[in-house]
Structures are given as C-alpha cells and as structure tokens.
C-alpha cells in the first residue's frame, strides 16, 4: 500500500490544487494512469500513478489546495478502502480562480513596517533644522534631508578621518567648527583643535575659534607606541616592588666574548655582551622558576617557557621584543635574533606575537655609559634586570692594586610574586654564572 503525494511539477511550484479526480475509489489503477488533474501556477498537469493497484482512498476533495509532498490518495491491493479522507491536516480551500503562490511571511511584512517607521527620524530632523545652505550639487531626495542638517541641527557632518582623529585625541566634536564643504568637519579642523588644546595646557574642550600658536613649545602628538607605553608604565607604578643590586666582575665574561667572536669571525657573526647576559638570565630563570613568574591578580602564574624580553630603543619609543625559549637557544641564535628583532622594532615592523609572551625582561643602558639604574617592571612580569656599563675599577687584591672590569646589575622585583630572599638567590646565581661564563656556553 502506498501514498500518492502532491507532486512537484514545476521549478516554482510550492502547492497545487487537486482540481479533478480522474479515478474513483475502488478503481483499478495501472502504473502511468492519470488519476487526477492538478492545477498549478502555470498549467493544468496530470497526476500519474507511479504504481499499479487499486485506488483505496481519496484523501482530499476536489478543489483543495495541497502543499507539495502531502498525501492526496492511497493505492493498495484492494483489501482496505474507505470513502472518508483519513488525513486530519488542515488545508486551505481556494477562492474561485487562480491559486496563490507561497504566502507572504508575516515576519517580512512586519519588517517592512519597521523600515517605514524609521523614516520618521529624518522627518523630525527636517522640522527642527534651521534652513541650511542649498546643496552645491544635485542630490537624491533622501540625502537632502541630511544636507539641510548643517549648522545648529542634531547631526554633525564630519569626514571619517576627522571623526577618528577626534576620538583618538579626545577632541569634543561639538565644539569644533567645520570648515569643509557644507560645513563638514575635516582633518584640518581637528588638527587645529589639537593644537589649541595643547597650547592651553589641556584646559578641557577647545573653543570654536582656532587657538593662537605658542612660540615656546611644540606639541608632539603621541604615536601609538608612546600612547601604549604611557599607559603601561603608569600601570607599572602600581606594582609593589623593591630593588636589588649587585656587581659582577666582568673580566672573564669580556674575555670569553672576545674569544667567541674571534671564533665566529669568518661567519660574520658578532655576539654582544647583552646576548651573553640574556642567555645567562635565561639559564638562571630555568633554575629559579619562581622568578620566571607573573602576577595573575589572585594567583601567581609560573611559566613553563623562558621568554626573555629585550628592551630596544627606537625613534618611536621603547619596545620590548621577546626572545622566546631563550634558555634553549644557542648564543649565536640569540645574537642573530636580537639583531633581527631590534631591526624590525626600529622599522616599525615588529609583529604582535614577537612582542608578547615575555616572562622576564632585560634592559641594558651600558652603551650610554650608565653605571646603574633601576628599570620599571613590565607588567605582569615579576622582574626586570637593569644592566649598566662594564667599567674599569681599581681594586685592592692581595695587597696589590689591580684593575678589574665591574658591571652593576639592578633587579626590580614584584614583591607580590617574589620576596627578598628568593630574588637575592636569583641574583646571586646570575652573578655566579656571569663570573664563570663558560657555564653560559654549556
């Protein structure tokens, strides 16, 4: 026994009207016989039986509209038959004449209404606006409403660039007079507003007229790097910290460096003192995992990898690219990587992933002749090492006056993560390895 369903008879058809039964209940039906006529949106078509048998049930009355796939009849072997339609599905009865296509969605009808009501906003605007200047070029009808809202109306006109600059520089757009076409606020207006703001010592929103130039000071606006740095350094101030200093006898380190560079001379590789320090720091961090940690708000994060940030000074500001897994890299690898990172930093081409993920930082001002200094923590790292210049110092040893090279290191420590003793142990071991520098190589 099988159901005969309303067939799909055209690519646009979604429902059909069972116009006329051609076979009666109880009639023998052969495969291919026409059992009914179907009225579709395009034509009247034949409903052919796909199987042979007896037409046992007519499930819908003539004139009923039925969606595609719904049963309209049952063909069986003749053992069961009923005159009443069994199906309880609700179907539409059509009006006289053509049947409709798919019904309008009530949702889409609602949406249309919303769009229409949205236009009210523009109408309101028109009524409240002062008569504006006529548009200079022909505009479509809807745009005219926006054009008239120039001076004194609710909507400001500004170029996207002006808006962005205003936002980035905390300029109040309402206070800016637009000097572009149709009173549009343009970049020049924002630039002027920024100048005025700077000149008046940041006394709040700028007056509409452009401020007079100040001959004694030049306003340097902050680039992105400096802005971010400013924010983070301010953040760094909130970290409870303390400082530890020690002094490293750098003779052997400097000698080893010369040897190493001689050995690598024909490869064109040059290792710097700082590269040695980075590697040494990395090795000692591996030995002191508590120093390779970060403050995590309500816990401490102990990092599994040792990623050392190396402070690089660029024209645009201070950047700290990260040498990842510094404990696992050779000196030459670290040397090459630091050169590459510094170069990228200066060219402004440092990608984000090479600027993040650091677990400890090293800052070296030795090349500027600084003996010692304290660096600011790079949150959320727990420590930063500030390295000064290695300089010759007279020392009395065994009654004799000799010259030794000494280098001062100052570590700034986040007290929430490390206490004095732990930090001191770290620094002691760092001194130890730097004074027996062969340990850096093995």
């Amino acid at each position: 026994m099988s159901e005969v369903t309303m067939p799909r008879l055209s690519d646009t058809m979604e429902e059909g009207e069972l116009a006329h039964w051609m076979k009666n209940v109880g009639d023998r039906v052969e495969k291919g016989d026409v059992i009914a006529e179907i009225e579709t949106d395009k034509a009247t078509m034949d409903l052919e039986a796909f199987e042979s048998g007896v037409l046992e049930k007519q499930l819908v009355e003539e004139g009923t509209i039925v969606p595609i796939g719904q049963a309209v009849a049952v063909i069986g072997d003749g053992t069961s038959s009923a005159a009443e339609p069994e199906s309880a599905t609700e179907v539409e009865t059509p009006a006289a004449g053509k049947k409709q296509e798919a019904e309008q969605d009530t949702v889409s009808a609602k949406a249309k209404g919303e769009i229409e009501s949205g236009e009210l906003e523009e109408d309101d605007l028109e009524q409240s606006a002062e008569p504006g200047q006529p548009a200079e070029s022909p505009q479509p009808a809807t745009a005219e409403k926006a054009v008239e809202a120039s001076s004194g109306a609710d909507k400001l006109r500004m170029s996207p660039l002006a808006r962005k600059l205003a936002h980035d520089n905390d300029i109040d757009l309402d206070a800016v007079k637009g000097t572009g076409p149709q009173g549009r606020i343009i970049r020049a207006d924002i630039d002027a507003a920024i100048e005025t703001k700077g000149t008046k010592g940041g006394r709040g929103p700028v007056a509409a007229a452009p401020a007079p130039e100040d001959a004694d000071a030049e306003i340097i606006s902050l680039n992105k790097i400096r802005k971010v740095a400013a924010r983070r350094l301010t953040e760094s101030q909130t970290v409870p910290h303390f400082f530890l200093t020690n002094v490293v006898e750098a003779e052997r380190l400097m000698a080893l460096r010369v040897d190493v560079n001689n050995g690598l001379a024909n490869q064109g590789v040059k290792i710097s003192l700082n590269d040695f320090i980075i590697k040494a720091v990395a090795i000692v961090l591996r030995q002191h995992p508590e120093a390779n940690s970060s403050w995590n708000g309500d816990s401490i994060l102990r990092h599994r990898r040792v990623n050392v940030g190396v402070a690089v000074a660029t024209d645009a500001g201070l950047l700290v690219p990260v040498v990842a897994d510094a404990d696992r890299k050779t000196l030459s690898e670290i040397g090459a990587e630091v050169v590459e990172l510094a170069g990228k930093a200066r060219d402004g081409k440092l990608p984000l992933d090479q600027m993040s993920g650091g677990t400890f930082s090293v800052s070296n001002l030795g090349m500027f002749g600084i003996d010692e200094f304290t660096a600011m923590i790079n949150p959320p790292e727990a420590g930063i090492l500030a390295v000064g210049a290695a300089s010759p110092v007279p020392v009395l040893r065994n009654g004799e006056l000799i010259e030794l090279s000494k280098m001062k290191m100052t570590m700034t420590v986040d007290h929430r993560v490390l206490d004095g003793a732990t930090a001191a142990a770290f620094l002691r071991d760092l001194k130890g390895i730097l004074e027996e520098p062969l340990r850096i190589l093995v």
């Binding site: 170029s159 660039l161 962005k164 000097t179 572009g180 076409p181 970049r187």
Partner: protein, 337 residues
C-alpha cells in the same frame, strides 16, 4: 631567448605584444592564434604581422567574420588541450561572442566539476576618441570584470603588456586581455628575457602622500600626467595602476588611501555601474576611517558616443577633468603644502 638582464629596450606597446606572441608560439606548440584578418592582412592593428609567414596557417588562423563561431571554436580547442589566443578586432565586437565567453568559457571549469580547463586568452582593444561613433568606441570591460571564472587584465605600458600577456597565455583559465587603441603606439622600456606578471595584483606606479589616483589601461597615461603636473606645484600624488580588473587587488587600493586620505578614480568607461563604482565602494569599506573627503570618479558621460569631434571630446574624460577634480578634493580638505 636572451639570458639575464641587459639594457632594457624602448619599444612600442604594439611591438611588445607582437614579440610576446612570437615568443609564446615558439615556446609552446599548443599555442595558436585565431581571429579576423590576423594572418594575410597582418592584423587590423598590425600586432600579428609576420607571424603567419613564420608559423603557418595551423598556428595563425584567419577566421571568417563569425565571432561567436570562432571564439566558441577556440573554447572547444582549449577543452582538448590547445592554448588559443583569440584576437577580436575591438571590444565592441566581443559582444557578438558574449554568450560563448560568459556562458561557456567562464563557467565550464566549475560547471563540469573541475574536470576540464579552458586555457585561452581573448585579447581586444577598447577605447574611443577617434571619431568612430557609438558602436566602435566603447569601454565595456566592466561587463567581463563582473564574471567569476574569467580573469581580466589591463596592461598600461609596453613592459606590462609583455609580462601580462605572457602570464595570460600560460594561465589555464580564460583571460580577457584588454588593450587600447591609444596605447598601441606608446613607447616604453621593456626588459629582455622572460617576464611573467603576477595576475591579481595592483601596483603603486608613483608613490605619493597627499592624494591617491586610481586608474588602469589608457587612463594611466592621463593619471601620471596629472600627477606630474601637481608634483610641480608641490602636491605629492600617489598613482595606483589596477593592472588586474578581475581579481581586483583591493588591499593595495585601500592601503594607499589610508595613507593619503583622498581618492580620485580616473576611468575611460561611463560613470554609472562602472569600474570606478567598485573601487569607490571598496575604499568606502576598506579605508573608511581614513577618508577626509568623499571618493570622486572621473568617467565618460553617459551617452552613445557621437561622431562629431567637439561632442565626442566633451563626452570623454580628459586630463583637465582629472586635474579639476583633484583640485576640488584638495580644496574640500583645505589642503596646504
């Protein structure tokens, strides 16, 4: 062919095309040319002069006036692995073959499940300004740029013509290769040796900081002329050559406008629904925050192009129009140097 970089020669766009066709015919025996009057007549613009004599009638095929027929035939030959380079006398006549180009060449690879390739080039010159009247003066390349499955190239110099035609012939997809009547005699430096362009990339042909002009094909001549004119006045204009209309290199265009904050598009086709419309929408979406003035387009008037010289001149876009619009944009942003 010659070895590594020697002195670049100065040759015409026409010569660059001709030499490239010759080089590819020599390099790959599957390459053949087909078109009207390309053999005995040496080509209506003399691009194919000498090739019939050197390669014979099976490599340089003179077709009757039957664009739909011979473009379709080229498609069939490409399906069997040959690499036809079809010459249609002008872009205007390509409309006769548009069913074969758009419904067949462009779609066969996808429609047949990736089984078959259509490695062919269809080259033709567009452009007006020679008083050839409405049906012989059109720039309808945007019709083809709209169709997925096609690649559409527009070289603006002899060097680009060489490199891009080489790339097009070696590409396994149907490539529409847009030349221009006014460019055929333009001279330029062309490097020796194999030059294969990258399809799908635009180029900053003249770097600048104050305003971006975007153009392609013959429009580039005007764009560079106007850029130079403004350079003398201290305005630094960056000129972007689209080079490839499909695929379109939107990133290069947007990157330029993000730097300059001002954009003017110069196009030979008509304004509405033209190439510039797409560039403008792209800039609007990709460089929105960086625009200090609306993007402007300088394009042809929307009229069947008249024969009479003053009318024709008035309807077509020229350097003066571009200069004026560039100045308008500079003024709208109160630009000072």
């Amino acid at each position: 062919m010659s070895e590594s970089a020697s002195e670049p020669r100065i040759i015409t766009y026409r010569q660059a095309l001709s030499e490239t066709l010759r080089a590819e015919l020599e390099r790959d025996e599957n390459v053949f040319l087909i078109g009207e009057e390309i053999g005995v007549f040496k080509g209506s613009y003399k691009i194919t002069a000498g090739l019939l004599e050197d390669f014979g009638p099976k490599r340089v095929v003179d077709a009757p006036i039957a664009e739909e027929g011979f473009v379709g035939a080229a498609i069939g030959a490409a399906m069997l692995g040959l690499r036809p380079v079809v010459e249609i006398m002008t872009l205007n006549f390509s409309l006769v073959a548009i069913d074969q180009i758009v419904n067949h060449a462009a779609k066969m690879h996808a429609m047949f499940g990736g089984q078959v390739k259509v490695p062919m080039v269809i080259r033709f010159p567009g452009g007006g300004g020679q008083q050839l009247a409405a049906t012989h003066s059109q720039n309808l390349e945007v019709w083809y740029a709209h169709i997925p499955g096609l690649k559409v190239l527009a070289p603006s110099t002899p060097a680009e013509a060489k490199a891009m035609l080489t790339a097009a012939i070696r590409d396994d997809d149907p490539v529409i290769f847009l030349e221009n009547l006014a460019l055929y005699s333009v001279k330029g430096e062309v490097p020796d040796g194999e030059q294969v362009a990258e399809i799908g990339k635009a180029a900053v042909v003249k770097p600048g900081s104050d305003l971006t002009i975007v153009s392609y094909s013959r429009g580039m001549v005007t764009a560079l002329q106007v850029a130079e004119e403004f350079e003398q006045k201290g305005v630094s204009i960056e000129v972007v050559d689209l080079r490839s209309l499909r695929p379109l290199d939107r990133e290069t265009i947007c990157a330029s406008v993000r730097t300059t904050s001002r954009a003017v598009i110069f196009e030979d086709d008509m304004l509405s629904y033209g190439i510039g419309a797409e560039i403008s929408a792209t800039i609007g979406e990709g460089a929105f925050d960086y625009l200090d003035a609306p993007v402007r387009r300088v394009a042809a008037s929307e009229v069947p192009l008249p024969y009479s010289k003053p009318l024709e001149t008035a309807a077509l876009p020229h350097a003066a129009d571009l200069s004026r619009v560039v100045q308008e944009v500079l003024d709208a942003t109160r630009f000072t140097k």
